[in-house]
Homo-oligomer: 348 residues x 2
């Protein structure tokens, strides 16, 4: 390996549904590229839930995670029913992964989109909001969920967004809130945004109400750069941005905390196509690229990213983005990985 001597230990969750297939494809690419990582497999998700563990994760697994501090995670399936808590949310909250970073850019004309120039990073608050998981039943007919917003939570995510913009040379940060209705909660997010924006005079800032903001983002994504918003809005707009760029299957994400970081695709476990070797592993590949950059293996990250780009640009496409006349060949999950591997070393 070109960058470090000691292998970085990574807790790897193969996930459910299409998880194992896309993880297999991703790990093969990492290995072929010489990523200096040492996977330690963890068992989370469906099987753990169904064994009677309502959180989908055991104490042993928490220990592995806390030891390794880096997680690469495929999507998991949470069984339906009130008894099961979302593992994604539990991990984000328990590990203090406060920032969910979701970059999306168009790959036009290789992947069709109406928005060839879009290049947006959604930076989503990842611990608070309606995701705090505080729900209760008041009467048989009345239920409530608490939307929790704190000043430290807002400060962490907003500062992260501006620092991200600074480090990556981005020009503008847009805040999206609904503070005409939620004056205290969304009002606090907006207030903190205004305060912190003052510390970054070289970066433009703007605030939009989430309804019209999401609408303009969906209609003209090329007008956006970095978008910072609370948990639920970020969940919705990051899927929108990924889907209108071509496919939600292409986007990776980084869940960043002070001590631990977790990297995953933004899509779900797609049980309907599981086991068919047809899923697009690109989301997880991109997540793994972010992971390598995060642990200081930027050269390997770039090598994989370039090979992945070349594969897409040369038209080797999984079914979700395959298009007659644009694509060259429809490939399976594993063939896609082979195509990427065969292009390692290409420069863009």
């Amino acid at each position: 390996n070109d960058e470090t001597n000691k292998a970085v230990k990574v807790a790897v969750a193969k996930g459910d549904g299409i998880g194992p297939e896309i993880m297999d494809a991703t790990l093969r690419i990492l290995e072929a590229a010489g990523a200096n990582i040492e996977p330690e497999y963890i068992e989370v998700g469906e099987q753990v839930y169904l064994s009677g563990n309502s959180a989908g994760i055991t104490q042993d697994t928490w220990e592995i995670i806390n030891r390794n501090k880096i997680i690469l995670k495929a999507p998991i399936t949470t069984p339906q029913g009130k008894g099961y808590k979302s593992l994604n949310v539990t991990m984000r909250k328990s590990l203090g992964l406060f920032a969910n970073v979701r970059p999306v850019s168009a790959l036009h004309p290789y992947v069709e989109t109406n928005f060839p120039n879009m290049d947006v990073v959604v930076i989503r608050e990842n611990e608070e909001d309606l995701y705090a998981g505080i729900e209760h039943q008041q009467t048989q007919d009345v239920v409530q969920c608490l939307k929790l917003i704190t000043r430290p939570g807002c400060e962490k995510i907003v500062r992260y967004a501006f620092e991200y913009a600074k480090v990556y040379g981005r020009k503008k940060v847009t805040c999206m809130v609904k503070d005409n209705i939620m004056k205290l909660t969304d009002g606090l997010f907006h207030q903190v945004f205004k305060e912190i924006a003052l510390e970054y005079p070289d970066i433009q800032n703007e605030t939009q109400i989430i309804d019209i903001g999401a609408a303009r983002l969906a209609a003209n994504p090329q007008n956006y750069d970095v978008v910072v918003t609370s948990n639920l809005y970020g969940d919705i707009i990051s899927d929108i941005v990924a889907e209108i760029a071509g496919s939600v299957g292409m986007a990776g994400s980084a869940n960043i905390g002070t001590n631990v970081a977790m990297f995953e695709a933004i899509h779900g476990s797609a049980p309907d196509i599981a086991g068919e070797n047809m899923a697009n592993p690109s989301g997880l590949i991109n997540a793994a690229v972010s992971m390598l950059a995060h642990v200081g293996q930027s050269l390997t990250a770039d090598t994989i990213k370039n090979a992945w780009l070349a594969t897409i640009e040369e038209g080797y496409h999984t079914a979700d983005i395959y298009k007659e006349g644009v694509s060259k060949r429809k490939v399976s999950t594993s063939e896609f990985a082979e195509q990427v591997i065969s292009r390692l070393g290409r420069t863009p």
Copy 2:
């Protein structure tokens, strides 16, 4: 007038910002078309707020509304600051306007859109959810907002959506929720949707998680027909649908209750262009068309709708939808109204 003898009394709010201009345009068209209505003007919004009334509406106005039972309302401006309660929300809640109906269809090629075949109706729950307005500050740094969902609330809106589909010959109703996270609140909405769907075996039904649902709606709106969802999601996706069809300035909405109904554009008061005679009055015109149909003046409603369509199709466009090569002439708010009036009586 062709339909009723007794004029229908309508409480008319001219609104703030661009409100008075687009209301003036709309009322001129209604009058020219022979709509049998008798406006009674009400004073709500900015001036009322600034006179020291934190709700933006006086007791006298409530009496006029309760007497007339039909409201045509232009957008209003709520002054910034925690002391002012949203008038929209107050009116919807106080008057029991439980269903917010927002139809959007493409007018391609007259108004440019990537989605020439889209034709979606968003039916948004209008009284509950985070809009219930229950917010509190727990410590200086911790604030909360309560998301309230009730079974009767879910039943009313879901039944309304299926009845709407039945009456208007629509084929499918899609429910959007986030019940993988909010198992009690969004879970209840989903549960009620499943129950009521059984009563309408001739109408297809499906449920999507709001993140991927909103993403697919933004990427492929032509795959949707009627969408039913809770208040905040409906707020966001209705703006998305309107904007990707061409402009949020085109869509009207009906707020339907058991005794009272209120008709309004879905856009805001746009203070930045107020007084310039350039706003698009189409949203309010379409709202007025819904109002006429609601009070039994369907022939007049159709007459106006057809004249409006002809105006758009013949390329007389306000600035927001004006496009070189597509539009014929850029018109002001008042000129647009004149163009519509000159086409009354046209058939499509």
